[in-house]
Amino acid sequence: MIDVWKDAEGVRMALEEIFESDFVRSRIREEGASPDTVERMERQVPPRTLAWGYYSFGEHLLHLDALQQAGIGVASADLAACEAEGLLALRRARSAFESRHPACSACGMRQQNRFSPACPGCGSKSLRKKE
């Protein structure tokens, strides 16, 4: 039996899946595609592979993180240890997601991958830094 709260690695994996599926869904919304295309694109949303408890705790952490970003900080004394560990897992998951989908330096739109030749949002070609 796994206590989801204590499985920070499982929570991190669930958060990465949440980020990826939200990314695909946001692209579907932005496309303004026909219902058939939307259906086809919906099939690209990665399925959830973990037990459901991980996503539920992940959503709680996202809410907590949103509160902190809005300046409604939770005193560290009020934060449960699992929440503190979870917020660290959230930071790792977000960092991995942002590395896979860098933001366009011109308009901020997240890219499909790190190797996009041009931003589909603004057409900017200055996405990749010269190594």
Binding site: M1, I2, D3, V4, W5, D7, G10, P47, R48, T49, L50, A51, W52, G53, Y54, S56, F57, E59, H60, H63, L64, L67, I72, V74, D78, A80, E83
Partner: protein, 243 residues
């Protein structure tokens, strides 16, 4: 208007094949309610990326009745016995459908729609419940409607506790193919009730409207949990279809 007397023992009457059976229950303490909530089996499974939920509270309901039942009447007794309690293991002899019927009556609590006359006052939040409580002297079970619980507005810290404890779970059978067992936030909801409650309407303690301390001490834990559950539920926006 009649009110629920919180210190009174409860009498549940059920009818089966034209005959009435009566069950007297002791006041159900918080500890017993928490044991009931812990006994509920609420699980979710991941089947091909889709969530499939299941819920089973029958064992917890039977245990709750067994723990709180004081006496029952309406059943034929063997020769030489004058009451059912004289029989060893009498609770287990009661028909299963009767015990489940009693349990269903004691957990019959639901959110109630406030009437248009009930004003909304800032800084105070009111929640209304409908509930079955106890049979009257004639053995008639009635539903009490519009039981009012007035709360202080919850803080973001209290909301966070509800969110945190509502997401608590264990996974049985591996993180990928396992089943999620939800642990429930009822104990937290009951705690938050005690922190926020200001006054109630539709309940009495020793025949008078209870003050805050009496509410915290005597309010039925199931009602506390139901009321705070409603308090944290979002109100539905008014949406009209576009022409």
């Amino acid at each position: 208007m009649s009110a629920i007397e919180l210190k009174q023992s409860r009498v549940i009457v059920i009818e089966d094949r034209g005959k009435q059976y009566s069950f007297t229950l002791a006041r159900i303490a918080k500890k017993l309610w928490l044991r009931y909530f812990e006994g509920i089996l609420s699980t979710s499974e991941n089947q091909g990326g889709k969530r499939v939920d299941s819920f089973d509270s029958s064992a917890a309901r039977l245990d709750l009745v067994e723990q709180s039942l004081v006496t029952a009447s309406g059943y034929p007794l063997p020769d030489g016995k004058t009451s059912i309690e004289q029989l060893d293991g009498w609770k287990g002899m009661l028909p299963l459908s009767h015990r489940l019927g009693v349990a269903n009556a004691i957990i019959s609590v639901s959110a109630s729609e406030p009437s248009d006359d009930d004003p909304i006052s800032l800084g105070t939040e009111s929640v209304y419940l409908d509930a079955v409580w106890s049979a009257d002297e004639k053995g008639v079970m009635r539903k009490f409607k519009g039981l009012r619980h007035n709360f202080k507005s919850p803080t973001s810290e209290q909301q966070r506790r509800v969110s945190r404890d509502g997401s608590r779970s264990r996974v049985v059978g591996g993180s990928r193919n396992g089943k999620t067992q939800w642990l429930g936030a009822q104990a937290t909801l009951a705690e938050i009730y005690d922190e926020l409650i200001v006054s109630v309407e539709g309940y009495t303690v020793d025949g008078v409207e209870p003050d805050r301390d009496a509410i915290v001490e005597f309010m039925d834990t199931y009602h506390k949990v139901a009321a705070v559950d409603v308090l944290f539920a979002p109100a539905a926006p008014k949406v009209e279809e576009e022409q």
